[in-house]
Symmetry: C2
Subunit: 193 residues, 2 copies
């Protein structure tokens, strides 16, 4: 998605540890008009799939998932990162290694919001080593639901998550794939529009 690549080049900042800060429009401040363009693009890319639910994980995936869901006319469900007093009853759980926070956490989802009739699109802001998506795929498998696709805003193509998911046959679409990045330059992988 050319407009996204241009936005990353304009507003993104590369920090040590392969961190790309895009917090001015994606995951701290959220540029709602731009996220609407992202939502439309996800709808275009997954239009042929019979999606019944969009699944993400808190926190930075939620806004993107909600805006995107408007184009699919389906509910969003977001997995939570820690046991909450408000979550009782039967839960799906999966373990996730956080790259950013350098720790392992549990993600949990109430069983009543995902079942074998569901056709699920996973949406998230970043894909690096793929651990968050793998955790969500584990939850979908536990629910015996169908994975229709994974939509990612920014994939770090120099980390292994995207390759591994594609090798598993997952229908993964990333709107921008970063081939390499340094303090002074960000290079994207060419993609068919």
């Amino acid at each position: 998605m050319k407009a996204l690549e241009e936005k990353i080049l304009q507003d993104g900042q590369v920090r040590p540890g392969h961190i790309l800060k895009v917090d001015s429009f994606l995951n701290h401040q959220i540029d709602i008009d731009f996220i609407n363009e992202i939502g439309k693009e996800f709808q275009r890319l997954f239009a042929d799939r019979p999606i019944t639910k969009i699944l993400t994980v808190e926190a930075s995936g939620i806004g993107i998932a909600c805006i995107t869901a408007q184009y699919f006319h389906v509910p969003v469900v977001f997995a939570k990162k820690a046991q909450s007093l408000n979550l009782d009853g039967s839960l799906y759980t999966a373990k996730v290694q956080s790259y950013t926070h350098n720790r392992v956490y549990d993600v949990i989802l109430s069983k009543k919001f995902l079942n074998a009739d569901d056709h699920v699109l996973i949406i998230d802001d970043f894909l690096a080593n793929g651990c968050a998506v793998t955790g969500l795929l584990d939850i979908i498998k536990s629910a015996r639901a169908t994975v229709e696709g994974v939509g990612i805003v920014i994939e770090k193509g120099f980390q292994s998550g995207g390759r591994e998911l594609r090798e598993r046959g997952i229908n993964l679409k990333s709107l921008a794939i970063i081939k390499s990045m340094t303090d002074t330059a960000i290079e994207f992988e060419e993609q068919d529009e």
Copy 2:
């Protein structure tokens, strides 16, 4: 908002500890069409205010804030609940007592996303003792920005947060105010529509 009261009566579940579960449409699964109605109502209630930014706190406020922001054509900024490797530079911080999780946590916001020119609408899903909103008000004060209002989906009127904010002169609008709730009945405060 009558449609919200009806939805709470239909789908809400009261649990011990004055917990109201509305996770089927508001804060775990998100009914996007319904949240759009909520967003439109917030726009109606705060239409006379020159809002430049919507502020919320992760995680369950984010979806509501993003949908609502579409009607104001302004960006969303969400405060984060813990120090992240991705947040550097100057930060506003405030301490918040979580009722649900029974602990104190820091909320943080990057200084570059809020300044003295901003006119801010705070949006959140619940108001009980008001600690999350108070933390966000502290951040707005640190930024020397202007508070234009606080929009809450569900206020627990039997807890003190709402009264205290109104006594401070805050322009607080709650779409549903619960007067009392038990296992078998939920009563709402009458409001002018």
